[in-house]
């Protein structure tokens, strides 16, 4: 019974990892591809961690597994955010932002990007 549950969870994890890879390869641009990192793969890792937590023999191991999962979620959410902005800037050929933190996209197109 337990084994069946573990296998089921692993299969779910595998599905999401596969979905993440397919998305990374098939989605059209950076901004859509970021979904694979922050959503699909984190969910895949979550199912994997859940399956392994069922197999684990102590609560310390389970706590470590969950900690690792949370760390990865935090790291990917942040890097996803940073990469998304780098992607936007790459797309718009922009290097800086104005002081309000908003992107001066139209200004850049008019060649006023250098202040």
């Amino acid at each position: 019974m337990m084994d069946l549950l573990v296998l089921l969870l692993l299969a779910c994890g595998g599905f999401f990892f596969l979905a993440g890879t397919v998305g990374l390869l098939r989605f059209p641009d950076v901004l859509t591809r970021i979904h694979t990192l922050t959503k699909a793969d984190n969910l895949g890792l979550g199912f994997t961690v859940l399956a392994l937590a069922l197999l684990a023999d102590s609560w310390i191991v389970r706590a470590k597994l969950v900690l690792i999962w949370l760390l990865v979620i935090g790291a990917t959410a942040t890097t996803g955010h940073l990469i998304a902005r780098a992607g936007l800037e790459a797309r718009d050929g922009l290097e800086g932002r104005d002081e309000t933190g908003l992107e001066a996209r139209d200004g850049a197109r008019l060649g006023a990007g250098d202040h």
């Binding site: 935090g74 790291a75 942040t78 955010h81 940073l82």
Partner: protein
């Protein structure tokens, strides 16, 4: 088994691609991935200590160093980012190297099996050593003088880099926390956890995979994170604080070596009773020093002429 073959194909493919591509950024990213894949190789071989260090260095310092170097080239000499071709006449060289590697492979595979394997003799003596993790025992007890010299190499390396960057101008104002609130929050969570993990790994090194080099590499990763996100203002190279931290590992290790010569009559032979304490103390200082040296390699040198040309634009 299938996993090992797939892993080797992955590592070999990564190496081939990263050495033949023409895009420098692609090569940098592939090199980081190569390091992480290599860590899986160490895991499969059973060298967990090496895997720990490889992961910490590959994910933390190495990639950041290369990204940094590439950016500085972009600023100083943009033409370096182009025209990265093979020398046309050199097509014969890879063939020669291939032949050489083939011969080396043949020799490696047909060489007689180790005549006198060291492992059993080491493992036999580990119970008497100052640490029960065989790798730590080798590093800090049986062959501690090797490790002492390796720390010396690290200190020499950072000294040379400082010499190259002599007279580096004041560091420009780094981006601050309010500039990047999401990242700031992550750094506030990750860095304390990393420091805790580094302490845990240093302590664990006496019994299980872990130790000064792994913990130092991990701590350096946290240092790079703080430097890159503007949490840590880089010290000037002549800062006494920085110099003390960088030299502390070598200094304490050398002092311990001298002390054991006088106390026990042999270089780095620890007293029978307190060997464990000696090793732990040395490792703690080494961890901090190694971390400081590795993170200091990352510190950027702002390129002054480039900023001037940016203004002219």
């Amino acid at each position: 088994m299938a996993f090992d073959v797939a892993l080797c194909v992955l590592v070999a493919g990564l190496a081939l691609r990263l050495l033949t591509t023409r895009d420098l950024f692609e090569a940098v990213i592939l090199f980081v991935s190569f390091g992480l894949a290599l860590a899986l190789v160490w895991v499969r071989i059973g060298a967990v200590d090496v895997a720990l260090a490889e992961v910490a260095l590959g994910a933390g310092v190495t990639g950041a160093l290369l990204v940094n170097a590439r950016r500085r080239l972009e600023q100083k000499a943009p033409e370096w980012l182009e025209a990265a071709h093979y020398r046309p006449a050199a097509a014969v060289l890879p063939a020669l190297c291939g032949a050489f590697a083939g011969v080396a492979g043949l020799v490696a595979l047909t060489a007689p099996r180790a005549v006198q394997p060291l492992a059993p003799r080491i493992l036999e003596r580990v119970p008497d050593a100052a640490a029960t993790n065989p790798v730590t025992a080798v590093l800090l007890d049986f062959r501690a003088y090797d490790t002492l010299l390796e720390i010396g190499v690290l200190v020499a390396g950072i000294t040379a880099v400082w010499a190259l960057e002599r007279g580096r101008p004041a560091v420009p104002p780094a981006a601050t926390a309010e500039d990047e609130p999401v990242l700031a929050e992550l750094v506030r969570w990750i860095v304390p956890l990393t420091v805790m993990t580094a302490i845990y790994l240093t302590w664990l090194g006496a019994y299980e995979p872990g130790g000064a080099f792994q913990a130092g590499a991990l701590l350096a990763g946290a240092g790079v994170l703080m430097l890159a996100s503007g949490f840590l203002r880089p010290y000037a190279p002549h800062s006494p604080v920085l110099r003390t931290v960088v030299a502390a590992g070598l200094f304490v290790f050398a002092a311990a070596a001298l002390a054991t010569v006088f106390a026990e009559g042999a270089l780095l032979r620890y007293p029978a009773a307190g060997g464990y304490v000696w090793v732990l103390a040395i490792e703690a200082v080494l961890t901090v020093s190694i971390a400081a040296i590795l993170a200091e390699f990352f510190v950027d040198v702002p390129s002054a002429p480039q900023q001037a040309s940016g203004e002219q634009r």
